[in-house]
Structure formats: structure tokens, C-alpha cells
């Protein structure tokens, strides 16, 4: 269907949830109350590594209002360990404590205040063990093993090929090589090498993790702030040895996610406590506890690139090390993807990639918007600028020369490039005024990046029900975390069915009601769930037309639906009339089913990339040379969305992503002192604030309807985070001549670099 003929898709219709959200009527897990609800609080380890000697819980158990005090051994579970990649994480620390902040004892009481008060009475005796609180320490020859043995979880097909390195703390090792490296290095006119560092981050979605769990005759029901209701159901079924059907995971609106709510977190604990006290239990974490639950990987990248004098890339070597903390969570996949994506969106004949996911005694690291791309892009794109500088080339020209073209393969066997990367980068450069003269003390920089979008080997199923009154229910398991997926799915349904947008309702994910969905992550929902919903809507449409045909004395093929009216020449019936006409009563319905089944691939990911999510960014900055403060004056972000289902929400996703990227670029980082998180809360951990909004923040949407999704759509939402740091870093270099290799580019780091430069020492990357 050509874009100009679209009536609902491609329009900036208001969000379905907008009204509830501005009136305070929107309900989140943290707003849920149940009769007899009990409240849980968690005692967390103050030390990063220790052997538990004993947990003394009697005094806490005797405190007012306390219903139960549980250590690992007291949990009524069949299986204590969980995790999406490895079953390496205990619901409560068992025998060994592996990070500071790890839950060791849980208290359940009639009120949160009573639970909190009783926590102070918990006493845990332990013997400290030497801790490895950085990847370097954990990789050292003498480092002790944080997990002597690990068991594969077997939840996800693409994780069946995990390759830990036995006898080390490496829980996943991704290696890829092509071409003749030795030759490439010989042939090169220039070889540059650098080490780049990206800090661990806290997601700080504004709604902290919250779970309400209830156990009754029908089994287990869990209301959770999760992006992955179905994988969570699977883990809970394993933990309690229940059939999937006996576990119900419900996800109302959630207050932000950004990857921090991927996979299973506190759901098993809340469920186990509910089973223990035989009352519904609420476990609401504080923001500081969130920061001790999941983080973004701190990553170091050693990257080396060989080029010819004219800027043709010959070879790239990347050694990527990710600190995944005490439990793997989804770290192994993040490492694989970081490795897969490390070379960048360029034509590079020769590659050697090595990515290691390393256990440490830090807070577990998992998914975070961009999934490894922002970290490797900081390295790769910063190095592209070093190359341009050394060869005296325009950074834009250097990139355009090497960017992959539509139809080219990134990796042999994987889906060819489905977009026009050069167009995006050129539009970005134009928008920032790349060739315009610069005021003194200012600089400009740009960057581009790409990730395999949609998740590897993921699937979705959807049901579209047309009710007897013509209204439509969409049953889809995609989680509304703010990205506007419900609105997008409603638009796709209305467009496909030919019914008014206002007549479509999208249900909240409920594993007992909505069909299977792999999860809301990897920018996949609009494309993959979108395709499932579109297919379900087509199915329903065909069924309703088949019902209408006899009523309108016609072949189904002669009929059209628009605005809920089915027309044959001059005769018209509403969808409602057709359905009630068919069933002979004011009732009945037509239900369509659709699903997306992933394709195969011989590529190194072990699954076909659904679409390529590309992002470009350009920054203009002014630098205060005395304080080192970087002022971001202008930021342009471009996203290839194929076809925007809702242009306003697409742009909003990209703006939000770019703004989030400003954090780690300029000031955001977790401070870890020997395993102790020094800035768990928002007083000492700075996230972007209103005052950080640059005078100009623009998003360019590239729309060539060339995506595999409905109406040519591609996923969006992560790409805006990719390029912010390298674009600002390169702008800093143009403004001052100094180049930083470690994020964030805090005023002090910039000031030190400027001072070192004045003292004549070279910036690190050029040493």
C-alpha cells in the first residue's frame, strides 16, 4: 500500500494512553493494590564477595507485623537459580555472596514500614573473600572463579551456542575473523590503534522495579514491571516447576525501561515470598536498589584500523571486554552483539573481532538501549576521526567513502543492508551545517552507526478480534513502556482492517490472554509484532468479508472496507451489521491470528537480521577552556525508520534516545570503589536534566518504506543513543585539538586534556 493512500498509518494520531497519563488515571504496577497485600523488603550484602556463615533472622521474625523472614534455604522453590543465558543467579544469595548489594535475606510484613524496621534486626555472618571488581582483575591469571561451573538456561535459540572459556571468568567469548590480517596491515598506508573506555551506567527508569505476586488455586499470578512477560513466565515455571499455563504474568503500563526491565529480576523472589506467606506480596525497589539490581556494561575496546592513503578501510581489529558483574543476566548476548557490531557500518574486507563477557564481583550488567552499540561506536567512530585527521580527510567524506551501500552484506550470509546509510549521514551533515564557518572555540563532529535490529531469532503472535459492534480488540504481548507501541499497533490494525482508529483497543500483555511474544526489546515490536498484528488483521478482514459476501450477494473479492463500512458498488453494510447478521444475534465475533516466524541465516549471529537499525548524529559544541565544560549547542540525530507508523512518536523516540546519550557523553557514570557503588541515587548520579537540552535538538526521519515491517516500517528507538558521544567527542577535538578516549567527557577530564596538550604531551589515541 503506497504511503499516499494510507489513512491512519503515517499520521501523528494522539497516543492511546495520552489522556490517562496527563490526568493521573494511568496505572502502573506500583499503583496496584490487592486485598491482604503484604510488603517485602530486602537485606543486601554490604560486601562484594563473601562466604555466608549464618543468617540470623529470629530477631527480625519477632518484630511487629512481620510475616516471614527468608534466607535462600527458606524459599519454597523447586529451583533456586535463574537467568536468561545461564542459571547462575540465586533468588537470594546461597552460600556465597557475589556482589555488594546482592539480596541475602527478605522480610515480609503487613506494612512496608514494618518490613523496613525489621530489616535492621537481620544479621548475616559471613567470611569475606577476595573480590574482583573490574574486568581486568577478573581476567588476571590468578583470579579466583566467581562461578566455578555454570548451567545453560536454554531459553533462547541464539544462546544455545554460548562459548564460555573454561577455567576463567569469561562467560561468553565471541570471535570472528575474515580476510588476511597480516597482508592488510602490510598493505596499509596508515594503521591507528587506540583504547577506548565506556563507563557502567544506571538505567534509572523513573518507575523502579516493582512486582506484585499472588499464589492461589489456579497457580501463580505476577504483575511485574518487565519488558519480557513470556520469558519471565518461563523462568517462573522453572523456578516453581509449574506448567506454563499455571503461571500468569501481567504487565500494565511501565514507567520507563531502557533495557533495565528486560528478563527476570525480582519476580521469582516476590512469587516465592507470596507462596511462603500465602498472601499477595508486593516488592517495590527503591531507585538505589534498582542501581544494585542491574546496570549497563562498562566496556573497554582496543581497536586498530588499517587504511590506504585515500581513506579506504582495509582491516579492523577489535578486542572488546565487557564487565558483566556477578551474574550473567543477558550479558553474553550483549557481548556477542557488541562484537558483531564493533566494526561499524563500513565495508571492511578484513576483520578480527574478539569480545569477552567477564564475570566480576560487581552489580550484574544486562540490556541497555543500544545493547553494546554505544560502547563500540564510541571506539570505532572516534577512531574514524583520528584516521581522517591523520590522512587530512574530511570526516564526512571518509565515512561516505566506506559506508555500506543498500544490498551489500555486512557479514556474509546475513541480511543485506536495507537502507541508504549515506543519505542519512548526508542529511545529518546538512542539518548541522557541516560546511558552514565555525565561530572561535566551537567545533562540530558527526558519527554514524548501525545495529542488527529486531533481536536474533525472535517471534511474535497476535490476535485481532472484531466485536459484534464493530469495535476491535488487539491481543498483543508487547509492553507499553512509553515507546507508544499500543498506539502503533492500533494504527496498523485500523489501516489494515479499514476501521476507524478510535474503534481499536490494544490489550495490556497478559500471558494468559495475549499470545506469545519474545519480548519488548531490540526495537523489534513495531516491525515484528507489527507484522503479526497486520497478518492477524488481514485474517480477520478476510473472514469478515467472507461473511459479508452472501449478505451483499457478492464475491468477497468484490468488497472493500473503509471506516468500518463494507461496500459493494452502491450497497453498504457496517462491520457490526455483518457480524450480528451472520450470528443472528447481537453477539459473536471474528478473530484473526497472525504470527512472525524468524528466518534462518548462515551469518555469525546464528539468525537472520530482521532489519538494520541505523543512526547518525552530528553535534556542535562550545568549550569553556578554563573549566573544561562542554556546552552542547546543537545536536542533530537521524533515524532510518523505513515508514513512520506515527511520525511524531518516531521523532520523539529518537529525541529521547539522543538526550539519554548526552548523559554518558558528558557526565553520567557509576562510581565503583572496590565493588562499592558510591552513587546509587540521583543526588550523586547525574542524569540529563531540562537544563541539558541543547538550544537545537533535531531529528531527521529517513523514510524510504524499505523496511520489512508493516507498510515498510523499521524499528526505531535505540539508534538515537549510538552517535552522541563520538559526535560530541569529535566536536571537542575540532574546538580544542584535544581528544578524549574515556567517557564521560567531564569538565575535569577535558580540563586535564587541555592542560596536558599545553604541556606538549600528545592526546592518548595518537601516542
Amino acid at each position: 500500500m503506497a504511503a499516499d493512500r494510507l489513512t491512519v498509518v503515517g499520521r501523528a494520531v494522539p497516543r492511546l494512553d495520552a489522556r490517562d497519563k496527563v490526568t493521573g488515571a494511568a496505572r502502573y504496577v506500583s499503583d496496584l493494590a490487592l486485598p491482604g497485600l503484604a510488603h517485602a523488603r530486602v537485606w543486601r550484602s554490604p560486601v562484594p564477595h563473601a562466604r555466608i556463615i549464618e543468617t540470623l533472622t529470629e530477631r527480625a521474625a519477632a518484630a511487629p507485623g512481620v510475616l516471614a523472614v527468608c534466607a535462600a534455604a527458606d524459599l519454597p522453590v523447586k529451583r533456586l537459580y535463574f537467568g536468561p543465558a545461564y542459571r547462575d543467579q540465586p533468588i537470594l544469595a546461597h552460600e556465597v555472596i557475589r556482589y555488594a548489594g546482592e539480596p541475602v535475606v527478605a522480610v515480609v510484613a503487613d506494612t512496608e514500614r514494618h518490613a523496613q524496621a525489621a530489616l535492621a534486626l537481620v544479621d548475616v555472618r559471613y567470611e569475606e573473600l577476595p573480590a574482583a571488581t573490574s574486568a581486568e582483575q577478573a581476567l588476571a591469571a590468578n583470579a579466583s572463579l566467581i562461578h566455578p561451573e555454570i548451567e545453560r538456561a536454554g531459553h533462547f535459540r541464539d544462546l544455545s551456542g554460548l562459548r564460555p572459556i573454561p577455567g576463567t571468568n569469561v562467560c561468553q567469548h565471541y570471535a570472528y575473523q575474515r580476510g588476511d590480517l597480516a597482508h592488510a596491515l602490510e598493505d596499509a598506508d596508515l594503521v591507528v590503534e587506540g583504547v577506548y573506555r565506556y563507563p557502567a551506567l544506571s538505567h534509572h527508569a523513573l518507575e523502579p522495579h516493582c512486582v506484585v505476586a499472588r499464589v492461589d488455586g489456579d497457580g501463580l499470578t505476577v504483575w511485574a514491571t518487565t519488558q519480557h512477560p513470556f520469558p519471565v513466565r518461563r523462568e517462573l515455571a522453572d523456578v516453581f516447576d509449574l506448567p506454563l499455563a499455571a503461571v500468569q504474568v501481567v504487565v500494565p503500563l511501565i514507567g520507563g525501561a531502557f533495557g533495565g526491565k528486560c528478563y527476570t529480576k525480582t519476580e521469582p523472589l516476590a512469587a516465592a515470598l507470596a507462596a511462603r506467606v500465602r498472601r499477595p506480596v508486593r516488592l517495590a525497589l527503591s531507585m538505589e536498589e534498582n542501581a544494585r539490581t542491574i546496570t549497563r556494561h562498562a566496556v573497554s575496546v582496543v581497536i586498530k584500523t588499517a587504511v590506504t592513503r585515500d581513506g579506504t578501510l582495509l582491516a579492523r581489529e577489535c578486542d572488546v571486554v565487557l564487565d558483566t558483574g556477578a551474574y550473567a543476566d543477558i550479558g553474553p548476548r550483549v557481548a556477542t552483539k557488541a562484537g558483531y557490531r564493533a566494526p561499524g557500518p563500513y565495508r571492511i574486507p578484513t576483520l578480527r573481532i574478539d569480545a569477552k563477557c567477564v564475570y566480576t564481583n560487581n552489580v550484574p550488567a544486562g540490556a541497555y538501549r543500544g545493547y553494546g552499540v554505544p560502547q563500540v561506536t564510541w571506539a570505532g567512530e572516534s577512531q574514524m576521526d583520528v584516521i581522517a585527521e591523520r590522512l587530512g580527510l574530511d570526516p564526512l567524506a571518509l565515512r561516505l567513502k566506506n559506508l555500506l551501500k543498500r544490498g551489500e552484506e555486512y557479514v556474509a550470509g546475513d541480511t543485506p543492508i536495507d537502507g541508504d546509510l549515506a543519505e542519512g549521514l548526508e542529511q545529518t551533515a546538512r542539518a548541522v551545517g557541516w560546511t558552514a564557518p565555525l565561530a572561535r572555540g566551537r567545533g562540530r563532529g558527526l558519527a554514524c552507526a548501525m545495529k542488527d535490529g529486531g533481536g536474533t531469532h525472535s517471534t511474535s503472535t497476535a490476535i485481532v478480534r472484531i466485536n459484534a459492534d464493530g469495535s476491535v480488540d488487539v491481543l498483543a504481548g508487547s509492553v507499553e513502556a512509553g515507546q507508544g507501541i499500543r498506539t502503533a499497533l492500533a494504527q496498523i490494525t485500523a489501516e489494515t482492517l479499514g476501521v476507524p482508529f478510535a474503534s481499536v483497543v490494544v490489550a495490556a500483555p497478559d500471558t494468559s490472554v495475549t499470545p506469545y511474544d519474545w519480548g519488548t526489546s531490540a526495537s523489534r515490536s513495531t516491525t515484528i509484532m507489527g507484522l503479526a498484528v497486520q497478518e492477524a488483521a488481514r485474517d480477520a478482514r478476510e473472514q469478515v468479508l467472507a461473511l459479508a459476501a452472501p449478505l451483499l450477494d457478492a464475491e468477497a473479492s468484490m468488497l472493500t472496507i473503509r471506516d468500518g463500512a463494507i461496500t459493494r458498488d452502491d450497497r453498504t453494510m457496517t462491520v457490526a451489521e455483518v457480524i450480528s447478521g451472520h450470528y443472528g444475534l447481537v453477539g459473536g465475533e471474528v478473530a484473526g491470528v497472525g504470527s512472525f516466524v524468524p528466518g534462518k541465516s548462515s551469518g555469525s549471529l546464528g539468525g537472520a537480521t530482521v532489519f538494520w537499525e541505523s543512526g547518525m548524529g552530528a553535534a556542535e559544541v562550545e568549550v569553556d577552556r578554563e573549566t573544561g565544560a562542554i556546552e552542547l549547542l546543537k545536536y542533530i540525530s537521524a533515524a532510518d525508520v523505513g515508514q513512520a507508523i506515527n511520525p511524531r512518536e518516531c521523532a520523539a523516540q529518537d529525541e529521547g534516545a539522543a538526550m539519554q546519550g548526552i548523559g554518558p557523553a558528558l557526565f553520567e557514570a557509576r562510581v565503583n570503589d572496590a565493588g562499592q557503588l558510591l552513587n546509587p541515587g540521583l543526588i550523586d548520579y547525574r542524569v540529563p536534566a531540562f537544563t541539558d537540552l541543547p538550544p537545537t535538538l533535531e531529528t531527521v526521519l529517513i523514510e524510504n518504506a524499505d523496511g520489512p515491517g508493516p507498510f515498510g516500517a523499521k524499528g526505531v528507538g535505540e539508534s538515537g543513543t549510538f552517535c552522541v558521544a563520538p559526535a560530541i567527542g569529535s566536536a571537542l577535538t575540532q574546538a580544542t585539538g584535544v581528544r578524549l578516549t574515556e567517557l564521560p567527557m567531564t569538565p575535569e577530564r577535558v580540563w586535564r586534556a587541555l592542560r596536558d596538550a599545553e604541556r606538549g604531551s600528545l592526546p592518548p589515541t595518537l601516542k
Binding site: 512496608e112 514500614r113 523496613q116 524496621a117 535492621a120 578554563e626 573549566t627 565544560a629 558528558l666 557526565f667 562510581v671 558510591l678 552513587n679 540521583l682 543526588i683 550523586d684 547525574r686 567531564t746 569538565p747 575535569e748 580540563w751 586535564r752
Partner: protein, 291 residues
């Protein structure tokens, strides 16, 4: 989550002082709670009794008598930020107050509470010192007035006796041909470095210079050695003196390396902010009508 406590609401300073005396360490003055309640929620400190001094008549409010600004200890930051008298006669104070924390904290937090909680990363205690402000401290049956800088003993620590209350901050006007300025720098929620200056000119010379540095050290301090560098200098030839004064003040600030940055960097920033604040003050003098 707060543990239970008793609340007393005295209607006079004497009554408040008595309550404090009676309950000793178990009691604390509650004058806004923006810092205190956070610490209590976190469980870092607990008091059986909070004494709400905001109910004491006359403890909040702004008065100007004979050019001297009298600030009730229970006056909120917002009230100071928006007060016409403060804005007209002490614009630097109004500007500083308008930039304390965020608007919600300023609505509830009071000047006295801010000074007495003595969180080192704060603004008012630094700027007010360059006005030679004094603090009026009362208890049942007696009162004393001390220079504001004497109030601060250490981080979170003042010179107040257990039964004493800070009731008023008295801010004398600067001489004619004077102006003050306060600049702060930082990228976390709380400021990392704060520098205040007050400059008085006398036919092209620096008749008086007052400098205070906050956030960097355990308490906000006047930097008299640095001030001496500038006094008497022709206004057009202060460049070198400012640099020296900046170095002296930086060293004297007693910086430490922490989440806000290295000691070395903070010392450097003191110098940078000092010069910028100085220029701002001079610009303010030139911009204001001669009195």
C-alpha cells in the same frame, strides 16, 4: 521510610529552647526538613522529637532597617528569591537564592535550616559571608550575635548549643561603589565549588575586597589572605593579583578528592570562579547608579 517521632510546635523561641533543653540529643529543630527528613528517611539519624520552629511568630520574614537586611531564620529560599527588598538592595543574594537546588526545595527549605544543617555543598553560607553577615542566636533568657563564619564548625556541624536557635541573619549593606557576586560550578545535584566576592571601589582603586569559598572545604570560609592581595590595587591592574589570590584561596579552601572531582581541579576552579565573580561584581558597580 520515616520512623515515628513526636512533633512539638512551640509558639516562642523560649519555649523552643526549653523543649530542646529538655530532650537534648533526642530532639532536633525542624525548619523545613529538606535535608533533615532525607537523612531521617535514609535512617542515617533519628530523633524522638522534632521541634517545628516555623510556627513561631516572627521567625520568618524579611525586613530592611537602615539599609541592613534582617532575615528571619525560617524564611524560605523562595521568599528570599522573590522578595522585592532583597532583589532591589541585595540582588546578588536574590540571584544566589534563585539557584539553590530546585524550586520545590526552595519552597520548603529555609535559610536558617540550610545554614544550621551545614551541608558543606551549599550556597547561602558562602555568599552571606562577604556581606559580613551576622547570626543572631537565642536561647531561653539570652541571646548572642556572632559573625556568620563563626557559625560553621565542620561538615553538618555548627557552634549552636543544644538549646540554642538561630533566629535571624543580619546582612549589613555594602559601602557605596560596591557589589557582590556569587558563582558556582558543578555537574552533580549539589554544587562542587562556590565562590563569592564583594568589591568596593574608591576612585579607581580596590578599597575593599572580600572573598569566600564554599563547597570545596568542610565549611564555607572567608579567604582573608587572598583578599589582602587585592586591596588597594588599581582596578585596572588586578589581573596578576587575582591570579595570586585565586591560588591562595584555592590552597586555603582545603579541597579533597571526591565524586565532585580532584582536589587539584577544585583548587583550579576556585581561581577561575574568583576572577569571573570579580569581573561580574565590577560590571555590577559600573552598571549601578553612583550613590
Amino acid at each position: 521510610m520515616l520512623r515515628p517521632f513526636e512533633l512539638s510546635e512551640p509558639t516562642s523561641v523560649a519555649e523552643a529552647s526549653e523543649l530542646l533543653a529538655r530532650h537534648g540529643d533526642a530532639a532536633r529543630i525542624y525548619a523545613g526538613g529538606t535535608e533533615l527528613i532525607l537523612a531521617m528517611k535514609e535512617g542515617l539519624v533519628h530523633y524522638e522529637h522534632l521541634v517545628n520552629v516555623k510556627t513561631i511568630p516572627g521567625l520568618a520574614g524579611v525586613r530592611l532597617d537602615a539599609g541592613t537586611l534582617r532575615l528571619g531564620a525560617a524564611t524560605s529560599h523562595r521568599a528570599l528569591e522573590r522578595d522585592p527588598l532583597v532583589r532591589q538592595h541585595f540582588p546578588a543574594v536574590a540571584r544566589m537564592e534563585a539557584d539553590v537546588a530546585n524550586v520545590r526545595v526552595r519552597e520548603v527549605g529555609t535559610l536558617g535550616g540550610n545554614l544550621c544543617f551545614a551541608e558543606p555543598h551549599a550556597d547561602p553560607g558562602t555568599l552571606l559571608q562577604v556581606f559580613d553577615a551576622t547570626a543572631r542566636i537565642e536561647k531561653k533568657g539570652s541571646a548572642r550575635t556572632i559573625p556568620l563564619e563563626g557559625l560553621f564548625v565542620g561538615p553538618f556541624e555548627t557552634c549552636l548549643e543544644g538549646d540554642e536557635l538561630l533566629t535571624e541573619i543580619v546582612v549589613p549593606p555594602l559601602p557605596s561603589r560596591s557589589a557582590a557576586a556569587y558563582l558556582k560550578f558543578g555537574f552533580l545535584e549539589r554544587p562542587s565549588v562556590g565562590v563569592a566576592v564583594a568589591v568596593t571601589l574608591d576612585d579607581g582603586h580596590v578599597a575593599d575586597a572580600r572573598i569566600a569559598v564554599g563547597c570545596v572545604g568542610p565549611v564555607p570560609r572567608r579567604m582573608r589572605e587572598a583578599e589582602a592581595e587585592l586591596r588597594g590595587k588599581p582596578r585596572t591592574e588586578t589581573g596578576a593579583a587575582l591570579a595570586t589570590a585565586g591560588r591562595i584561596a584555592g590552597r586555603a579552601a582545603d579541597a579533597i578528592t571526591d565524586l565532585h572531582g580532584s582536589a587539584e581541579y577544585k583548587e583550579h576552579l576556585v581561581g577561575v570562579l574568583l576572577r569571573r565573580a570579580w569581573d561580574q561584581a565590577l560590571a555590577a558597580i559600573d552598571g549601578s547608579p553612583r550613590r
